[in-house]
Symmetry: C2
DNA sequence: TTGAAAGCGTTACCAA
DNA sequence: TTGGTAACGCTTTCAA
């Protein structure tokens, strides 16, 4: 940077100030400096910058490399986060830690190698939150804890997602719908998405005078197959299925076919909180209610940056999902 | 750190040296210093360390957030890499960049915010390699370029993987095997895994006096379904399938069932270069030839660190795969 | 609008 | 075996 200053005939500090923009610099010298930087192929050194300014200009996202999801969902969030970070001139790195390693997250945060941390797949009582905050690093939650306080959080509006799916099928004429949720274990643990979706489904059905039929299901194709088969056995009149379980989806199809049912002639299937990528993976393009995906990551980053800059941040938000009608839903058989 | 020095009654530099171990420190003072560090809850500041030592102690891995794989395969590699890095006291971060953004990789490397870069899903002519190296940052390849030179690379021994799978099925009595490869586009592009597997399958079959039947197939369940149906139509005598295509696998099953074939009674299915996680996702636990997964990441990191330390590094390696016999393979029908 | 210089928290060189 | 101190490449305060 001294080289740039010399070549532009100014002091080192002026170069720094044209870079940071924290002090007015006359147009003339700015041009000379920029020219000098171009000539010399100058690049700011982030490490030195971080040391001097006590800001790394890096955001980290705890990325669960061993989660149970297919990756597509997480990656959409990451994508949105990356975009938002880049726009704000921040780098976004992923920390490969699974959700049950709060100590690791704590250690990484304590290193102060990132200005803020994004937490994905946040549980109701997530030790990672305290881990990060105790290190004095602000964090944003994708999902939310039981009591998020005035933290930055971005969650999915599961109530709306379920409502939209039910409305779609009921609107097509269905009266008997089954809901395949995620695992019983996560339900028992009070994991937000699972509990809220279960309640939302019951509400959506009963408010329409319909009987809610639902089941939890491990996040595995085989589990989906068994759960669906059981549901069909107990409720042979079911003509529509809501599935909020990426992997189980694949088993659901198998079970329906085993039962001799065609999609969507005999039975409709709607994925809930699914990405387009997953929908494409289905045998026939799956009708689904999409996750807000990128928007979640984006909002989380924006909120986190507001926090960092001391701007007041918007309160937490539940983002809505959008119905995408494709080829697995239609009117019930006559 | 000055605080630690004061409390231990030594100079700042001595504290630094007990930390780095680059200079002998008497046992007595070492103990005092460690005590002082514990008392004060001292933590080294990685940013300052990086600036002074010109080493970040961070390794980055270009993580394709929008790859076509299911994530499980990539994540196994990441896991191995993380472990190896941690053992060597390095941090490993993931850079969320897709493989077709070499400029991004170049920019990140030029920031010199990592001491070395791991590249996954390396193509035969991968611009990322030059991008990283031109920034003066060493890299290791998972997969390999057409001419890896004396770079560090770790690839899968696809020849062995195919051979093992063929041997397994032929050993069970099969004479007519079909191979479902990855996309035609990647074959045409000369992508290593696809080209090598195709050749290996032909070799394994012809060397046994058998006719090799194979097809390329997009990385999608529907594509797998169609490809398998076509293969069956053209070669009704097929009794075994090798599938080196994570997503197509799900479609293969559907096609076989559509044809009224039971697994493994009528037809056997073997996944090639698949992870256990994928195997578990199959309707019945899939017989497969596993990827070396974590070993790939581990070896790549080890090689990269050797490079960084100026130790001579081992040449590139093809890691072998292991056959896992589960429930989708058996003798052909009589 | 600009310059000079004091840090930022380490490492590593030069002496002792 | 230890201490003092100049970097490392920036940001930012204090002066002008």
């Amino acid at each position: 940077m001294q080289d740039v200053a010399d070549r532009a005939g100014v002091s080192l500090s002026t170069v720094s100030y044209t870079l940071t923009g924290k002090r007015p610099v006359s147009a003339a010298t700015r041009v000379r400096i920029e020219q000098a930087m171009a000539d010399l192929g100058f690049r700011r050194h982030p490490v030195a910058r971080a040391l001097a300014s006590r800001r790394t200009h890096v955001l980290a996202i705890a990325y669960p490399v061993f989660g149970v999801s297919l990756g597509a969902t997480l990656n959409e969030i990451v994508h949105g986060a990356v975009d938002a970070a880049r726009e704000a001139d921040y780098d976004l790195v992923l920390w490969p830690v699974s959700s049950d390693e709060p100590e690791l997250v704590a250690e990484l945060a304590a290193q102060r190698t990132a200005d803020g941390v994004l937490l994905m797949e946040v549980a109701l009582d997530d030790p990672r939150v305290a881990a990060v905050e105790q290190a004095g690093v602000p964090c944003a939650l994708i999902g939310r804890t039981a009591d998020p306080g005035d933290r930055v959080w971005v969650d999915i509006d599961f109530e709306q997602a379920i409502e939209v799916a039910v409305e779609h099928l009921v609107g097509l004429g269905h009266r008997h719908l089954g809901f395949v949720n995620r695992s019983q274990a996560s339900f028992d643990a009070g994991y937000g998405p699972v509990v809220r979706a279960a309640a939302a489904f019951d509400a959506a059905m009963t408010s329409r005078g319909l009987e809610p039929v639902s089941t939890t299901c491990d996040v595995l194709p085989v589990a989906g197959r068994r759960a669906t088969a059981r549901l069909l056995a107990e409720h042979p009149d079911l003509t529509g299925f809501l599935v909020m379980n990426e992997l189980a989806l694949f088993g659901v199809h198998g079970a329906l076919r085993d039962a001799g049912l065609r999609i969507p002639d005999d039975v409709s299937v709607v994925g809930v909180a699914i990405t387009g990528e997953i929908s494409d993976m289905y045998d026939h393009p799956l009708t689904y209610v999409s996750t807000p995906g990128p928007a979640q990551g984006r909002r989380a980053v924006e909120g986190l940056l507001e926090l960092l800059d001391g701007r007041r941040h918007a309160p937490g938000t539940n983002l809505p999902c959008a119905l995408r009608v494709r080829e697995t839903s239609g009117p019930p058989p006559a």
